[in-house]
């Protein structure tokens, strides 16, 4: 297992190198002179010149890159011109809501998806199976924000159970915090649940046809044990992959849903920064989001090893 972990971590280095180059190039690949764009059309030639100097835009590109990477390692992603604060600080402010929402949505998704997917697999070919899979198609097809709007109409406006929109940090109390996130979490979670449920079903169906399931049944095990112990664990790798992917998407910020529910998360930050051409913030958030993706995938890879001994023991045997 140790060599497996080490190998996985080492394999991240080239990925991160490429990511850093691409993210760094954002500022140079977008059309127009960054300094001029930042200052707007009214700015004088001298001001633009001065900003170019300040940003180091006159240095050779590779020097700019190394300078930037150096900053990244020190946690310095530059400053936002529009918000007048360091990018790191801006990201950290918006990270909390997004992570809370992502976790809650993912829990919702898993709680819906696994039981439905397993049930559909056990009853494959029957009306139950078709109903569940039809529902999941609906879940994939309906845009999250639209479902969110329906939820607002029903739960917030008609029944008045939950606040329409907004956000309170965890420091305001657990229930206060959760209260605002329930509807967006359901809106996002059901969509993700549909994907996870479909993968659960197909992976379970495939595993149920394998010979060792027959062995498990021939031992006299209860069907529950055959399903949850022998089948699910073997079927779990593709399911875990989808869970990892959907979680990555959630952390990247569900921009539209965050807008609908007015949650000050990463999604909102990205949208606002793109509108304002706040290059430093765009760079910083994109880097943060890719990094999270990469780390989630690393975690998923490591969990493969926990679930399946063939993954972790490959080299040693």
């Amino acid at each position: 297992m140790k060599s497996y972990i080490l190998k996985r971590i080492l394999s991240l280095i080239p990925v991160l190198l490429i990511v850093s180059i691409v993210v760094f190039m954002i500022i140079h690949l977008t059309p127009g002179d960054p300094a001029a764009v930042i200052l707007g059309p009214e700015a004088s030639h001298e001001d633009v010149k001065q900003l170019q100097e300040e940003l180091g835009l006159n240095d050779p590109v590779y020097q700019q890159y190394f300078h930037w990477v150096e900053g990244v390692f020190q946690g310095n992603l530059g400053d936002s011109f529009f918000m007048d604060k360091p990018v790191t600080e801006a990201i950290l402010e918006h990270l909390g809501p997004t992570i809370s929402l992502a976790i809650l949505s993912q829990i919702t998704a898993i709680l819906i998806a696994l039981p439905l997917g397993i049930m559909a697999a056990r009853k494959r070919g029957t009306a139950t199976d078709q109903t569940f899979m039809g529902l999941s198609l609906l879940g994939i097809s309906i845009p999250h924000f639209l479902f969110g709007l329906f939820l607002i109409i029903i739960l917030a406006i008609n029944l008045r159970w939950l606040p329409v929109a907004g956000y309170k940090p965890l420091s305001a109390g657990f229930w206060e915090h959760i209260k605002y996130l329930i509807m967006p979490a359901i809106a996002l979670g059901t969509g993700q649940a549909a994907l996870i449920a479909r993968m659960t079903r197909s992976s379970m169906v495939e595993t149920l046809n394998l010979n060792f399931i027959k062995t498990a049944r021939s031992k006299g095990l209860h069907e529950r044990k055959v399903i949850y112990k022998h089948t699910l664990r073997n079927a779990f790798i593709p399911i875990l992959t989808v869970i990892g992917q959907t979680f990555g998407t959630l952390v990247a910020g569900a921009a539209v849903t965050e807008t609908v529910f007015n949650i000050p998360g990463i999604g909102q930050l990205i949208i606002n920064s793109v509108e304002r051409r706040d290059y430093m913030v765009i760079q910083g958030t994109v880097l943060m989001v890719t990094l999270t993706y990469v780390l989630i995938n690393l975690l998923v890879d490591l969990l493969y090893g926990v679930i399946d001994p063939r993954v972790r023991l490959k080299k040693e045997s």
């Binding site: 394998l210 060792f212 023991l313 045997s317």
Partner: protein, 333 residues
């Protein structure tokens, strides 16, 4: 009759498929006694494995599989008992080993876990006692360094070892009946004989009945007491091993025996084959099922179904012309 360990009477197994109902096993009867080895022989697709899995009701998926007839095991009709009673028999009184040892073990659990599972389930032993039993079982089936092996995973051991582990799982609760579904087909010839020797010695030790499903007549001749030959979901001939090999009555059995390659004797002699293909279960011949491929078939065979007749010495045969074609093989060779 009635005091056999396992007695199958007129068993039919139907599957509902997209192309309609298919009867994979159509009215077969046989029995297995304690301490004896019954071979079930036939080509692929003749219903051998379906028969085996029907005995443990492993197909049970509501609305897809249905059974008729009786499977009597120690006075209980296995087709009538509840699911929970069936589970108490599986792995405890009747065990099964499967064809492909590479895929029959769960890849994510250790060998020890998989052997301990039925022991803990049926014999209500503690984890520690079950662990000791597992080690004992591994010793019994001749796996070296069992204390080390119990902690290994299936992919870390060879195919022959895995089939030994499968046997250990199957015999962990000392079943009265072992169903072995082509246990050696996927293995090397040398490993094959080791595995069969092992099963044989354990049979004597535990006095269990064995139902051995195979298409290898060499295995039958060496290891079995009685044989039932199956063709297209039916038993066409049944008898003691010696009489069946020396004096096969059914043209299909004759065909099977004469298609075994001979190591000695006339090397220029062509290996005889059975003409044609096994028809699909959707287009079963109207009369005798073997008639379209049978060299002796006439109009009667094509139109009327023969019954399984009982002859002397516990021999049973399903053929209209077994009297006339008797000895045709011995004259021909």
């Amino acid at each position: 009759m009635g005091d056999h360990l396992l007695e199958v009477n007129n068993l039919k197994t139907h599957f509902r498929t997209e192309r309609g109902k298919v009867t994979a096993v159509d009215g077969i009867s046989f029995h297995v006694d304690r301490g004896e080895v019954l071979a079930i022989v036939g080509e692929s697709g003749c219903g051998k494995s379906v028969t085996a899995q029907s005995i443990l009701r492993l197909f049970e998926e509501k609305g897809v599989t249905s059974y008729d007839g009786e499977i009597n095991f120690e006075g209980k009709n296995l087709l009538k008992i509840s699911d929970s009673e069936m589970r108490k028999i599986r792995g405890n009184d009747i065990s099964m080993i499967f064809q492909d040892p590479l895929s029959s073990l769960n890849p994510v659990f250790t060998i020890g876990d998989q052997i301990m599972e039925p022991i803990m389930l049926h014999q209500k032993l503690s984890k520690k006692e079950a662990y000791e039993r597992a080690i004992e079982m591994l010793k019994l089936i001749g796996i070296p360094a069992p204390e080390q092996r119990v902690h290994e995973y299936p992919h870390q051991i060879s195919g022959g070892m895995r089939q030994r582990v499968m046997i250990a799982i199957a015999l962990a609760c000392q079943p009265k009946l072992l169903i072995a579904d082509e246990p050696t087909t996927a293995l090397d010839v040398t490993i094959q004989s080791q595995i069969l020797e092992l099963i044989d010695s354990l049979r004597q030790k535990l006095d269990m009945g064995i139902m051995l499903i195979t298409h290898d007549l060499g295995v039958v001749a060496q290891h079995c007491t009685r044989v039932a030959v199956m063709y297209l979901g039916e038993v066409v001939e049944e008898g003691d091993v010696e009489s069946l090999f020396e004096n096969p009555l059914h043209p299909y059995t004759q065909g099977l025996i004469s298609s075994i390659p001979q190591l000695f004797g006339n090397r220029n002699k062509k290996l005889s084959i059975i003409k044609g293909m096994v028809p699909s279960l959707n287009e079963i011949p109207k009369g005798c099922r073997f008639a379209p491929r049978c060299p002796f078939a006439d109009a009667k065979c094509m139109n009327e179904k023969p019954e399984l007749e009982t002859l002397d010495h516990n021999k049973r045969i399903k053929c209209w012309h077994h009297q006339t074609i008797k000895g045709a093989v011995s004259n021909a060779t």
